[in-house]
């Protein structure tokens, strides 16, 4: 469908719709909307007959999924017609809370539910807004309607993420090195892809449904090589040219080993990119900080063209030196790149083999192949524009970041892309949402020291790792002040709450939680007892629910919410890596909600009015949705959801392109400029290969920790990548445990909510690894375990029973647990008692949290034995 737009440059385009008559039939309508069965948001067409959904197919108009959809999306029908669905407000009648405790729900009128919630919120608003805690994963509309309480109500606690790992490093590093948010691969031109702890291009991830096809095309038609580095021989490994089973928690060593081969052995790196687009040439003194010009405080570089020392922005700077030692202001200084090379040299492939278990000769070969495939110095002409051509990508995500020292795992891997200049150029690693010219002008901007300081992601502001914040004594339950370069720190909240708040200097109690169906208890944190205690300690827990999951069993009030087939939302303008069109998709109500239900936006409007904040809510919507006269929301009035969406659409796209237009067409598509598609060399800011600001942040943090008498190891604040072992690594080296439990993703399940769906459950039943525990043949033999045997997994915090799936497709020191299984909620009868709840196996303390990013360490130290009898 996209090819139909080629050659056009008028904005916006109305795309071709297959079956263009779909809205005219009264008995058989195809309605365009967005799938919400995972975070990706593919566009779909929903077939409705006599008011009931009978089919869902991928929308071919969508650049996001190009007509494809996956099993999760298809199964959305069954979620919608879930017989266990909640359609009326519920109130707990059993004050006791805990795992397996029946809440004894009672149906209550809407008025009673709204009254209880509004009164509590009003009390908190007057006393201290920080007593309200919001969790919003899994419901896009509610992210907006609840998230507005951050500026309006004044609570700092808006936890959008579900998992204790996700977004902890991936978004920070995108912001840091490209100014964007997420990552893909430019499959149209890529020749060599390494997936580390992720399944990019094969299963899961952003853009799932188009990247799979693009990756397959690249593999079949152009011979793109795929190497998968993962403890588990997952779906991606099964499709790869090579699978390198890696010991969990050693990704940084793998990355540093590759860097050593590239920088010190074969000397393949993009010197021009490093000199002019990074801080590789910035001179670093003996204290690990930049050497600065005394007058301007700007960092200095050595210009090889005339032998002069100059500031980074000196217009005469031509050829910054990347190596050597210089005498500057009476001290010895080296370019940052020189220090990076020296650090990499500490990781010869033979040492890396001992850490990762990947053979030295294999690593050396892969690194050399990858470097050669990068074609340093080559250019490509696309639509008349010459761009650097770097057809390689080392993609990393969930695996490396979910560790103690997770930041360093990710940073070491990402630097492989950086030194090759392979970010946001054709063929390389693509950071999405880096730049936009239309319909919203949004580009990254330089901050301090000429470094990229302001990302292009507006309205929803991630705390960014550069320049970070000075550490301070904490005032918040998430200890945000003690993690000065972290993006978000909410994953430590139950941990802090399980101890003495006064120890941390926190002066307020969390009295109320409002959450969405993201299921924090089953899949959000770690050690279940800590998480249960957190919820038990809160006066009023309110949950929006489609079905009653494990977290809802801790609720006091449950409010029914629509399925994705009943929701309305204008998705933000979006793009796909390297794609020549941008697009905006909508989600719209396809079928009517049950009569007794009320729309969450309507319910929250009523609550906000009673709390006395509705006018402020509308004011912030005016700002954040970019509303303009005559479409501004006015104080003293009330608006229904579709009115607001109409105003949002018309404010940005003009009066002819309101909500009704989007309902009719589903998607708006426009042509993108080349600098939007491949912004890498167009950004007017440098990106780091050396994290100089970490040195200052560490000094400040050490001072605060000393005051608080906290004995934290802050060695993670190293400006260079480093491998540091996690507890489980040390335990298995000492023979204290049998295996490291790791979690991996299946392409047909999502988060902690999916398996209760009958079609997904059937898939999991028929594909036995889904609910099983992968155990390597060698370990199984040693333990006398056969395929299908019941086994015990015992971690320091939980002992669980599982079913062994004996295979060679898992590292010998690892047991692999897929998806989010092991449900115990009564409201999920289909998946109840099946599989293992992975998060429950994880220890949860400071020793198991990355002290840079607050990611939980997803290495579960386990002893394994066969269930006897």
């Amino acid at each position: 469908m996209i090819s139909l737009l080629k050659g056009r440059d008028t904005k916006p385009h109305i795309v071709y719709r297959p079956g263009g008559e779909r809205h005219k039939s009264t008995t058989s309508d195809w309605v365009p909307t967005t799938c919400r069965m995972c975070l990706v948001g593919c566009h779909v067409l929903v077939k409705v007959e006599n008011g009931r959904v009978v089919n869902v197919v991928g929308n071919p108009d969508s650049p996001k999924n190009r007509g494809r959809m996956c099993a999760k999306g298809k199964s959305g029908i069954m979620n919608h017609y879930n017989p266990n669905r909640v359609t009326k407000p519920l109130k707990r009648s059993n004050p006791e809370k805990g795992i397996g405790v029946d809440p004894r729900w009672q149906e209550i009128p809407w008025e009673e539910a709204i009254d209880i919630i509004a009164k509590k919120m009003k009390k908190i608003y007057v006393e201290d807004p920080r007593k309200l805690y919001l969790q919003t994963w899994g419901a896009r509309g509610l992210i907006q309607w609840l998230g507005v309480l951050v500026p309006v109500f004044g609570t700092p606690y808006h936890q959008e993420s579900l998992s204790g790992t996700c977004g902890k490093s991936i978004h920070s590093i995108q912001f840091l090195t490209a100014g964007g948010f997420w990552d893909e691969v430019d499959f149209e031109y890529c020749k060599y892809l390494i997936d580390v702890g992720t399944q990019q291009g094969v299963a899961t991830r952003e853009g799932f449904n188009h990247t799979i096809a693009d990756c397959a095309t690249a593999r079949m038609e152009r011979g793109m090589k795929l190497v998968v580095v993962d403890p588990v021989g997952n779906n991606a490994a099964a499709k790869a040219d090579e699978w390198l089973p890696i010991r969990p928690g050693t990704d940084a060593a793998f990355g540093l080993g590759m860097l050593n081969v590239l920088l010190n052995e074969v000397k393949i790196y993009d010197a021009d990119f490093l000199k002019h687009h990074t801080n590789a040439g910035y001179l670093v003194g003996p204290n690990w900080k930049y050497v600065r010009d005394p007058a301007t405080r700007k960092p200095l570089l050595y210009d090889q063209s005339d032998g002069e020392i100059k500031t980074y922005d000196d217009p005469t700077l031509k050829d910054p030196g990347l190596e050597g030692e210089y005498s500057v202001q009476g001290q010895k200084a080296k370019p940052a790149f020189d220090l990076l090379k020296a650090r990499a040299a500490e990781y010869p492939v033979e040492r890396v083999e001992g850490i990762t278990s990947i053979p030295a000769k294999t690593l050396r070969r892969i690194a050399r192949e990858f470097g050669e495939a990068a074609q340093i110095g080559s250019i490509i002409r696309i639509d008349g524009v010459e761009l650097p051509y770097r057809p390689v990508a080392l993609n990393w995500c969930r695996g490396p970041q979910g560790h103690k020292h997770g930041w360093h795992h990710c940073w070491a891997l990402h630097l492989v892309n950086l030194v090759l200049g392979a970010i946001n150029v054709p063929g390389g690693y693509q950071c999405t949402r880096t730049a936009s010219n239309w319909p919203i002008k949004s580009w990254p901007e330089a901050g301090e020291d000429g470094m990229l300081g302001y990302s292009s992601v507006k309205y929803r502001h991630h705390a960014q790792p550069f320049p970070g914040r000075p550490a301070a004594r904490p005032t918040r339950h998430d200890l945000f002040e003690l993690f000065p370069v972290a993006a978000h720190t909410r994953s430590v909240v139950p941990l802090v709450n399980s101890g003495d708040l006064k120890k941390w200097g926190i002066d307020h109690k969390i009295e109320m939680i409002i959450h969405t169906p993201g299921n924090q208890l089953a899949g959000g944190f770690a050690d279940l007892e800590s998480v249960v205690n957190f919820y038990k300690g809160v006066d009023l827990v309110v949950g929006f629910a489609i079905e009653l999951n494990e977290t809802h069993e801790m609720d006091d009030i449950v409010l029914p919410m629509p399925t994705y087939l009943e929701e309305n939302l204008l998705n933000v303008p979006d793009s796909v890596a390297g794609e020549w069109v941008g697009f905006r998709q909508i989600q719209q109500q396809v079928v009517a909600m049950p009569e007794e239900m009320r729309r969450p936006s309507e319910v929250l409007t009523e609550i906000y009015d009673r709390v006395g904040i509705l006018d402020e809510v509308y004011h912030v919507f005016n700002l954040t949705l970019g509303l303009k006269p005559p479409y501004l929301l006015e104080p003293g009035k009330r608006y229904v959801e579709e009115e607001i969406l109409d105003r949002e659409a018309k404010s940005l796209h003009g009066q002819d392109f309101g909500w009704e237009w989007f309902k009719e067409h589903g998607i708006m598509v426009w042509r993108r400029d080349m600098d939007e598609r491949y912004p890498g060399r167009f950004i007017k800011a440098r990106v780091p290969v050396y994290l100089e600001h970490f040195v200052q942040r560490r000094e400040e943090l050490d001072g605060v920790l000393r005051e608080m008498r906290l004995d934290w190891d802050t060695s993670d604040y190293d400006p260079l990548p480093e491998w540091m072992p996690c507890k489980a690594f040390e335990q298995i080296q000492r023979g204290e445990i049998d295996a490291i439990g790791v979690h991996y993703k299946l392409p047909y399940t999502y988060g902690a909510q999916g398996n209760a769906n009958p079609w997904i459950n059937e898939l999991c039943d028929k594909l036995p690894h889904s609910y099983g525990v992968l155990i390597n043949t060698k370990l199984a033999q040693k333990k006398g375990i056969k395929d299908g045997d019941a086994i015990w997994l015992e971690s320091p915090v939980k002992k669980v029973k599982g079913v062994a799936r004996v295979t060679q497709m898992v590292h010998p020191e690892v047991v692999g647990i897929a998806g989010h299984a092991g449900h115990w909620a009564a409201g999920k009868p289909l998946s109840k008692g099946k599989g293992v709840n992975f998060n429950g196996l994880l220890p949860y303390d400071v020793d198991h949290i990355d002290l840079l990013s607050t990611a939980n360490d997803f290495c579960a130290p386990v002893k394994v034995r066969k269930v006897e009898g």
Partner: protein
């Protein structure tokens, strides 16, 4: 009011055509920023041609240490995670921190973050 940068009109916030006269800016702080500063509103007088960056340095002096520590960088720039709206327009749609202030209202707030799944 339509955003001039999107209608093609000349925008004084971008080209500094009103650089000579001092400007008075009403600053509104929302959410945690209000708590950190101990105040919700203040009026700031700035030299003509002042930018958001200039305003940030002024706020550093006027809004106290807690505000500066949380909302500003060590170099007294606006922290990237603080959203700035100038007369209702997000500063990223204008000239970012280099947007020239011509009076009117500047609103600063923390917004919900994208966190990942």
């Amino acid at each position: 009011m339509a955003n001039p940068s999107e209608t093609g009109e000349r925008d004084p916030r971008l080209d500094g055509s009103t650089r000579s006269q001092p400007v008075r800016v009403k600053v509104v702080l929302m959410g945690e920023l209000k708590r950190w500063a101990g105040r919700q509103e203040l009026t700031v007088e700035l030299p003509g041609g002042s930018t958001v960056q200039t305003l940030a340095k002024k706020l550093s002096d006027l809004c106290g240490e807690t505000f500066a520590q949380n909302a500003l960088t060590k170099e007294r720039s606006i922290q990237p995670h603080v959203a700035v709206f100038i007369d209702g327009v997000q500063m990223g749609r204008l000239a970012g921190t280099q947007t020239i202030l011509t009076g009117g209202k500047v609103e600063l707030m923390l917004l919900p973050m994208y966190e990942g799944g």
